[in-house]
Symmetry: C2
Amino acid sequence: MTLRDISRGAGEWLRGSGPHSDVVISSRVRFARNLAGFPFVNRANRRQRYEVLESCRSQIMTNRLADNTLWVQLADSPAIDRQLLVERHLISRDLARRTADIPRAVAIAADETFAIMVNEEDHLRIQVLRSGMQLGDAYSQINRIDDILEEKLDFAFSKRFGYLTACPTNVGTGVRVSVMMHLPALKLTGEIDKVKRAARDMHLAVRGLFGEGSEALGDLYQISNQTTLGKTEKETLADFEAAVIPQIIAYEHQARQALLRQREKQLDDRVWRAWALLNNARVLGTDEALQLLSHVRLGIHTSRLDRVDIRTLNELLLLCQPAHLQKVTGQEMTPAARRIARADLMRQRLGGR
Amino acid sequence: MTLRDISRGAGEWLRGSGPHSDVVISSRVRFARNLAGFPFVNRANRRQRYEVLESCRSQIMTNRLADNTLWVQLADSPAIDRQLLVERHLISRDLARRTADIPRAVAIAADETFAIMVNEEDHLRIQVLRSGMQLGDAYSQINRIDDILEEKLDFAFSKRFGYLTACPTNVGTGVRVSVMMHLPALKLTGEIDKVKRAARDMHLAVRGLFGEGSEALGDLYQISNQTTLGKTEKETLADFEAAVIPQIIAYEHQARQALLRQREKQLDDRVWRAWALLNNARVLGTDEALQLLSHVRLGIHTSRLDRVDIRTLNELLLLCQPAHLQKVTGQEMTPAARRIARADLMRQRLGGR
C-alpha cells in the first residue's frame, strides 16, 4: 500500500454511514503516550528520538494492529504527501510542519480506522477514527491497540497523575475525544454562536475543520474535550456520548426543522444554488467548494435534493483540497490552476457539464 | 388592445435583431414639442392642461400613426400599470409619478415602435424605439409622425431658438437620441469608467437602465446627447451613428476578445454560473436577475453557451421586473413573494428544474 492508494482510497469514515451520520461526520478518540526512560520529544536529543521511533515502529508494525498498515517516514516525505495526510486528518499540522531534524513517522491502517503518530508532541499519539457517532467502537478499538502496545512498550505513568504527557492539558488519561459535526442549519439560523458559547461553558473546544485556529469551513465543527485530568476515560466518553453530542445533534435537527417550516424556499434556494454552482463553475476555490458541498449535504439530509450520495460528498470534501487535488490529477499546480482543476473535478464527479 | 396585451406582447425591439444587436439593445429618438398658445405644462392651469390633452389625443388617435394605437389615461391608471410602462421604457418615471391633478396620457403603438407622452414636462414627447442600432430608421419614423402631427397641431417655434421646450437643454431641435448598450466586457475588465469619462468629454450622458440617477443594472447603459441647441438634428444623429456608438461598440468588442484570449476560464465561469443560478435559484431579486441575464447574454455573444436565444433574454429582462412579474402572474405580490415568483419564472422559461 502506498500514499497514492490512500489518496484514492475509501477510509471507513468516508462511508458516511454510522449512527447520526446526518449530523456527525466522524468520531475520533486519541490517546497520548510516552515511553518511560526517554525525555519528551522536544527535550530529547537526536539519538533518543531515533530510539523512540525505532522502538515504536517495530512494535506497531510487527503486532499486526490491522490487516495492512502503512508506515510513512515523514522526514523523507515530499511536502505534498504530508499535506495530503493533514487533509485526511491522519496527521496533525504540527507533525507535517516539523523540521527535518526530528525523525517522525505515522502508521496508518489501510482502512484509515487508526493512525499512530510517532514523535509528535508526545512519543505516541494513537488515534482511531470512525464514521458517524461511534465513540464507543472507537474507544474499544483504541483500547485494544493501546493494550497491545503497552505489553511491549513501557509507557510513562505516574500513580498520582496518570499517563504523563508533554503538555499538562493531556496529563491523566491522555484521552482526547472529538467529534466532527456538520452544523449548516445552526449556521444559517445564526444560532451557532449560542452553541459555541454553551460548549465553552462545558470546557469543550469548538474548532474548525483543521483543529486549533482553523476556520469552520464548510460548516464543519470539531467538538472536543479540553482537559483530561480529574475525569476517567469512561466519564469523558460518557459525557460526550450521552449528553454533549446528542444535545448539539438535537439543536441542529431543530434548526433544520425550523428552516423547513419557516424558510423552506430560502433553504431550497441555498441547496439548489450550491448544486448548480458545483455543476457549472469553471473556477472554484477550496473555501467556496467546501461551503457549496455543505449546502448540498444539507439538501440531502432535508430531502430537498437526491442527485448525489453522502459518500461522494465525503470524497469530494477531501478531493477538493489542494494536496488531494494534485494527487488525483497527478501534477503539481499553481493555486490558479488548482481552482480550474477543482471546478473540473466537481463537474466530472457530480455529472455536470 | 389593452395593457395586458402589451405586457405579454412582443415589442419590435424585443426581437433582439437589428444591426450590432450583440452590443446595442435598442435605439431611441425622442422629440419634445409644445403647442403654441398654451403655457408649458407646469405653468398651465387645469383647464389648459385638459385642452392640450384633448387636442393631442384627437390628432394622435385619428391620424392612424400605426395600425393599432393604445391610449392610456395615466391619471386613472393603477400604479402597477404605470410602473409596467416605465419598465418597458414607454413612459418616463416622472410621468408615472406625477400627481393626479395633471391630466396626462401616453399613446402607444401596438408594436411599441413609438410612444407619445402627453403633458409630461412638454406637451408632447414623441419617442420611437427600435431594436439594435437603427437610429436612421427611428429618425425617419419619428419625422413622419412629427410631420403628420405638425399639419394639425401648431407647435411652439422660434426662428431664433427653434422648437421651444420647458427645459432649456431641449430647446432647438428638441431631439434626444439615445442608445441602450450592453457593455458587460467593459465592466468585467474595469474599462467602463474610461468609456464613461470619454463620453462625458463629448457632452454625452451615460445613464443606467432607467435614465437619470438609475444604476447600470445588468451592465446596460443608455448613451444620449445632452444638448440639442447649436446642432442640427442631422448633425446630432450623424455624430451618434458614425462616430460615438461605433467607437463604443469597438471598445466592447475588444474587451470581449481580451476576455476570450486572456481570461477564457474566468469568462466561462461567469457565464455558466449565471446560467446555473437562473436555472436553479428559488429566491431571486431584480438586480441579481438582471446581472445574471447580462452574463448569459455575454455568453451567447461570445459563443460560450447556446441554450437560449436573445429574444427570450430580452423578454426575461422585462418580465423579471416587479410590475411585469405581477402582470404575468396575475396577482399583486409583496417583494418577498416576487423574489420567489421571479425565480420560478426564470426556471420555467429557461427550462430549469
